[in-house]
């Protein structure tokens, strides 16, 4: 079954026809040609598809596109309007916090979401009140990186938090 939805993607209103089974991730990648969010597992296990939905980080492979109608979607590409890198992106670049780059847009969106959650006082399992390395790592542990850039990712997120 096809249905038409409206999405605001990276600041632009988009109208798109989707299968009711289509995930937000596939709607972005296969119908809107926005390939910034990546598909690593399609089961919410790796974090590569992370985007910001109405400002909160979500796994877009676990969101049905039809439930995102009328909402605001920001991908990693949308964090850098006109090519101006977001502080998180700049910190990833400065600290070489990636290698192959496939998990990176998801890591970046996740970090933006995680820093916002921390500022709002949302607790984590780790429970530090400061953004220690362990606290950042806990909050970023939903985003897998097979290249093993974690040590630099933690440093980058800490740098971005100070920006």
């Amino acid at each position: 079954m096809q249905t038409e939805i409206n999405l605001r993607v990276d600041g632009t209103d988009r109208q798109v026809t989707v299968d009711t089974r289509t995930t937000l991730l596939d709607a972005l990648r296969e119908r809107l040609a926005n390939t910034s969010p990546k598909k690593g597992c399609d089961h919410g296990q790796c974090g590569a598809c992370t985007v910001l939905l109405n400002g909160r980080r979500v796994l877009s492979c676990l969101v049905l596109a039809v439930t995102a109608g009328g909402k605001d979607v920001v991908t990693a590409n949308g964090l850098a309007p006109d090519g101006e890198l977001h502080p998180v992106q700049q910190a990833f670049l400065d600290n070489d916090a990636f290698q192959c780059g496939y998990c990176t847009p998801g890591q970046v969106c996740s970090a933006v979401g995680a820093l916002d959650e921390f500022r709002r006082g949302w607790p984590s399992h780790h429970g530090d009140t400061e953004l220690t390395r362990a606290e950042v790592a806990e909050r970023m542990s939903g985003n897998l990186c097979r290249c093993g850039a974690y040590t630099n990712i933690v440093t980058a997120v800490q740098q971005a938090a100070r920006a």
Binding site: E30, T35, D42, C100, P105, A134, A137, S141, G142
Partner: protein
Amino acid sequence: MNAVGQDMVRRDGPAKVTGTATYAYEAEVDNAAYCHLILSTIARGQVTDVDVSAALALPGVLTVLTPGNVEKLAPTDDAELAVLQDGEVAYRGQIVGAVVAETSEIARHAAELVHFTYHVDEHDSIFTTDRDDLYRPKAINPGLEPDTSIGNVGEAVRSAHLTVAETYSTPMVHHSPMEPHATTALWQDDSLVLWESTQSVHSVRTDIAGLFSLDAEAVRVICPYVGGGFGAKGSPHGNVVIAVMAARALPGRPIRLALTRQQMFAIVGYRTPTIQETTVAADRDGRFTALAMAAYGQTSRIKEFVEQTAAPTRMMYAAPNRATSHRIAALDVAVPTYMRAPGECPGMFGPEVAVDELADALGIDPIELRVRNEPEVDPETGKPFSSRNLIACLREGAERFGWADRVAGARDGDWLIGTGVAASVFPAFTLRTTANIRFDHNRYTVELGAADLGTGAWTVLTQIAADALGVPVEQVDVRIGDSAYPFASVAGGSSGTATWGSAILTAADTFRDKYGDDPADGDEAENTFIGTGFEGGPYATYAFGAQFAEVRVHADTGEIRVPRLLGVFAAGRIINPRTARSQFVGGMTMGLSMALHEHSVLDPRFGHVINHDLAEYHIASCSDATDVAAHWIEEDDPHVNRLGAKGIGEIGIVGTAAAIVNAAHHATGIRVRHLPLTLDKLLAGLP
């Protein structure tokens, strides 16, 4: 103005942090169709009937590919690539069909509607060392002798002061790059364009052109970015053949095919489980009198790949008596392949734990024990080492890590604390590659079909080219990842930078010889670097390293943490410290992952990996690896190659697991000889 050695930011960085770098599935094409694979649900037998009627009745389905109902491929030795040529099933998860449809949702739905009838044969997928059909392979990867022997190990053991003779094992593990294997394929006007996630655009082109009886010129393979490979994308697998069949069935229609994460556990290779019967005998002073490993692994019945598990035992330490062997079980299982540091990664686990056990039994510091057994020359070939700085790595690592402060029985509240060390090694060699250099509008364009899997090739090759041409990096455009460029070797074997860099040096010489320092627009030169091949030259060429781990084990729960991992490497000239550090740290992090988590569990009843996703096949997460540090010593090796670079992509994973297991022993007194090091193996023995 040397660019080599500078801390240069990745050239592909901005595209990667914004997600605008395009991977294979994301190639910009119009009106794509989507292909979904169907895998066998039996481990051995034949497809006897396929009912595609329900699938074809689904609106939006374009075609269904089934055994015998596809174009005939040219004969090939590689049974993995001969997909759908007949109905034979040799392992569970083998490709038995595919659906092409207007959308990915329809393709996936229709794949479920294709009904297969099988004749089921009994299968055998149990890997043990007491099978009566183990065999000695003709050669082991990458073409080495399966068995070697010098002196008499048995006699040396009988007269030794102390011998550690233990069996160690590493489980089946999967590469699991974050980007699932993917292809966008377009067949149009009798030519084929493949956007393919691969470590070697040229080998994909050669294999595909051969299978489909096409001129190589009619096939173009494009791959500017690879979302991780680790060997799984080193040579093409059956999925790309299906993508090409689908594209040729629908001329003019681009076909997108991505594997699901689950499918990746069946059809793109894995590291064989290994069993390592390891012997280290020593005299009273800790000098090794014998070193031996009998290594066992598995392969698929339809294609042989033999992990060279005992290869590092042949060259790592001195000992007058030595022996290695490899025995293989050919099973009804998926096809194994090379995975990051084949041979060295699993094969340095047993020996490096055995050396630790021996040090413990002798009461000698494990670093000192390794120093005492440093060979003068490569013990088996007699070749001199081009450079060998293992001791320097151990000493520098000990200093940085604070090794001298280690105490047995350390405790911090409920946490038992220990430290461990292990050595790393990986061979350095170069392959054949051609590079082209063109001058235009005061810029130099350097082209070769190399690949950047996250290694930093885009960046380091730019640095090498700038120095080779004697110009600033800003004046150089390196172009890689396209078979339209000159032939380049695979991004594998830690040979990429040294090989491709050497080719650029060679081409730059030719360019300057022809045109001098003041070339005209359009001037162009090309040359080929031959490389050493896997056999190497007159020197034994290896990178070395030392890894140090701190392990904490919770006294009540057995929870295992690795708060600190430190590696020091001697790997020749480092081209870019920033990307090099990430390579080392990344390898070590994957080694930590192997040590603590990774285990593909094969259910022998069904012949497949049951934990085939990232929720059940655990890899290290961010919280596991917050302090992984790598350093290196300056090493000037004039013999290894003109660039002086040894390769750094794999050595970081070698030895890590042994260092962690040795640290866990130091913390708890419990010796774990079978990876992964999980808490169930510690709980019963905790104080």
